[in-house]
């Protein structure tokens, strides 16, 4: 390889080469505009409060290519789901996907196809201005909009089984993908989505993903994010949830992979009586592995409630960041918000930075938060050892016990199974 290119140079050339893709002119214009905004904004630095603990400066000196199309013989996923869309290195794979069980009035298609076939439906969602100032990678994602998922569940429709969106990175190194997912659950619709990012024979790649979830009134939406990228990869995600009246959203994030993973999750309560339950689990086992969860819950409407429970276990020289912020606007009466983050440190060199924040401008609220950092309880360990349990076994039991609270209430057995496998793989280290 020749000398390392700076970020704007390789981005510029990638962006120019992307112009040849056939896309409607409004999208082309939007992408140009977003690209300019990214260049103006630049990469975030640690001087910014929102990026205080996560250093992305190395991206400045790393160059990524656009991915090539590969066709793997088979894919590894521990999830057996009946409805799935599969993306290989960011490209949609029709052969691998399976949508036969989908109710007929549900639209589930790769974004590129949706832009062609349902332009009017997709356009307003795509043109929405997201929080690029705070999260500049979103500008970048918008600038490279091409592929991703468009899911539209119409009124009163209940999708019977989870929809699995699999992003597999394989047989290539040093590439970058920009998936953009738009998920819309109309009134009283019910749907469960699993977004999985995983890798096989791929190194040093970069996933920059943006997922938007829209839960209209009385919709029930469950969103599982399984991030199990290769431990040399960079994964930067921004998930935005928009909730209308009486909508009910569950989110669950599990982060095991990547060298650097950044998960931004924003919940906007636009109308009253909406509810959101967020859970997260991060299991870190490599030196210099860094996982950062930034959550912002915007209580802009009265009578909404949110709960947040994130747990993490850290080994080796890994680092975890947690920042949960509850913002209650004036007038958001009867706001009920809970936040908690618990961390378990298994090694002397692991590091946790946690910051549960409350910003409250309304008196009629109940907001609670808590955070703990510690190691496995010596007494509990002694108790087990005294009963003849091997040390390794005892540690595994206690680790499982620590995690159990997060696993609670996951209805779907295949997801539960998947998470348990990840935990088992982790705890047996």
């Amino acid at each position: 390889m020749s000398a390392v290119l700076t970020m704007s140079t390789w981005l510029e050339s990638a962006f120019v080469s992307g112009r040849s893709i056939m896309q409607p002119s409004w999208l082309q214009a939007f992408r140009e505009q977003q690209f300019d905004k990214f260049l103006q904004r630049g990469l975030p630095t640690r001087k910014e409060e929102w990026w205080k603990y996560t250093n992305v400066a190395f991206l400045e000196k790393t160059s990524f290519r656009l991915p090539i199309i590969v066709k793997p013989k088979k894919i590894h996923s521990t999830l057996d789901s009946s409805i799935s869309l599969v993306f290989i290195n960011g490209q949609y794979s029709h052969e691998m996907s399976n949508t036969s069980l989908l109710p007929s009035d549900v639209i589930l298609s790769p974004l590129s196809l949706a832009i062609e076939q349902h332009e009017d439906l997709v356009k307003p969602y795509l043109l929405q201005e997201l929080d690029g100032k705070k999260h500049p990678f979103t500008y970048l994602n918008s600038a490279f909009i091409g592929e991703g998922v468009f899911l539209h569940v119409p009124e009163n429709c209940v999708v019977p089984s989870p929809i699995h969106l699999l992003f597999l990175n394989t047989e290539q190194n040093d590439f970058i993908t920009y998936p953009r997912n738009i998920i819309v659950a109309q009134e009283k619709a019910q749907v469960t989505i699993i977004e999985e990012h995983t890798a096989n024979q791929a190194f040093n790649y970069f996933t920059n993903v943006v997922t938007e979830l829209h839960a209209h009134s009385n919709a029930h939406l469950s969103y599982f994010k399984l991030q199990n990228e290769h431990h040399t990869a960079t994964h930067i995600a921004n998930v935005k949830v928009q909730q209308q009246q009486d909508s009910h959203v569950n989110t669950f994030f599990i982060d095991c992979g990547s060298r650097l993973a950044r998960e931004d999750l924003t919940i906007h309560f636009h109308e009253r009586h909406a509810e959101c339950h967020m859970k997260g689990l991060y299991l870190l086992e490599h030196d210099d592995q860094h996982v950062d969860n930034h959550i912002f819950v915007d209580h802009a409407a009265p009578h909404c409630s949110s709960t947040m429970l994130y747990k993490g276990i850290l080994d080796k020289k890994s680092q975890a960041v947690f920042n949960g912020k509850v913002y209650a606007h004036a007038g958001a009466k009867q706001t009920n918000a809970q936040q908690s983050n618990h961390n378990l440190l298994l090694s002397r060199t692991a590091e946790v930075n946690t910051k549960p924040e409350l910003e409250i401008y309304e008196e009629d609220v109940k907001c609670v938060h808590g955070a703990t950092v510690g190691q496995l309880n010596e007494d509990a360990l002694f108790y087990l050892r005294a009963r003849g349990v091997e040390k390794e076994e005892a540690l595994t039991i206690l680790t499982h016990a620590f995690i159990e609270e997060v696993m609670h209430n996951i209805a779907d057995p295949s997801i539960r199974n998947y998470i348990q496998q990840r935990v088992r793989a982790y705890a047996s280290l």
Partner: protein, 480 residues
Amino acid sequence: MSNQYLKQIVNKNYQYGFITEIESDTFAPGLSEEVIRKISKLKNEPEFMLQWRLRAYQHWLTLSPPEWAHVNFPEIDYQSIIYYSAPRVKKDGPKSLEEVDPQLLETYKKLGIPLHEQGRLAGVAVDAVFDSVSVATTFKGKLAEAGVIFCSFSEAVQEHPELVEKYLGTVVPYRDNFFATLNSAVFSDGSFVYIPKGVRCPMELSTYFRINAANTGQFERTLIIADADSHVSYLEGCTAPMRDENQLHAAVVELIALDNAEIKYSTVQNWYPGDEEGRGGIYNFVTKRGACRGTHSKISWTQIETGSAITWKYPSVILQGDHSVGEFYSVALTNHRQQADTGTKMIHMGKNTRSTIISKGISAGFGQNTYRGLVRVLPQAHNARNYTQCESLLLSNTCGAHTFPYIEVKNPTAQIEHEAYTSKIGADQLFYCRQRGLSIEDAVSMIVNGFCKRVFNELPMEFAVEAQKLLEVSLEGSVG
């Protein structure tokens, strides 16, 4: 109804807002190297002090004011502030209480601070700071018997330069932050305490700060050193006249506790908070930090923050010595347009260090109350333990209460807990009290008092009474 009650509080007047007519020596507004040289010369300081001030000033010129705090105020013009103002003295300064200007004594009497040595609160030795200088220190003789040095900072520079040189700026270096650096350059007076080895200070020490002159900034510096096996309890109080302009108060407090020493530092901060429209009031931008240098040392901060237009203050403890203990107890009240961004930092460096943070925020009117805290555990701090609890009470639907705790842990043996909640007074709590025949005012006052009790319990007796009264006055009939 509760709204009426709230209005009553909001309209409550600040009772320390009078101005003392007294002749004073005052510099022209503005800051320059010359001003610093003048202050230093006026105080007849040794060369090391002047050099230190000038280094701070040079560094300050390179800094810009911090913007991260959750407060809003117009930019301060540092050239329009008067950096030195002192009541005029006839000769070389008062040698004893009898020589102090009776006007000054009258002022302190009005504030309820006894500058005579036989008063009701005669168990407390007081250092009274009026604008830029210390005007009197009581009970010096009695303290000297025990070997305790308690005097104004200027005096300490003259009499104990070796102690000042050894410890000044070792906890809050002159490069620390914008306001601490400014203070290092221009500070005019303050209190100095040295407790020798093995001495338990025979009485409470206290400093009473009063801003009187208009357009002045007050920059005092307090340095407390507790040598091995010693103990001291120190109180601090402050008031200012009512004026329409904002006045800057940028103080620095440094505490040093050596092996087995204990320092207890209590503050009742009641600077003029401004009127209900937010006009006037003190900008209280203070850097307070203690270092537990020795093993088994302990530093405890207790603060009752009811005054100031803006409070920006984070009394911190650096837990260097093994087994050292840091504590922070705080009640912060914001009413009208007051803004408070306050909290603490606990830096765990030594083994088996422990810290406790109890913070209670009360917001009323349009007040914005922020808790901002840091608990940091460094890799070598084995078995560090922290417990943090911050609670916020909201008394109006126009105020705000915010919590920004930073927790940074680099050692697995650390055990860190943080919990917080924000809510208004529960309707069920009120109902319970009313049902038992309490008026709404009494019920609210009782609940607020209960809310703050844990912190009030940490205050020395003399202050606990004052703090409770202060809160009662500020919240009279407020909630419900």
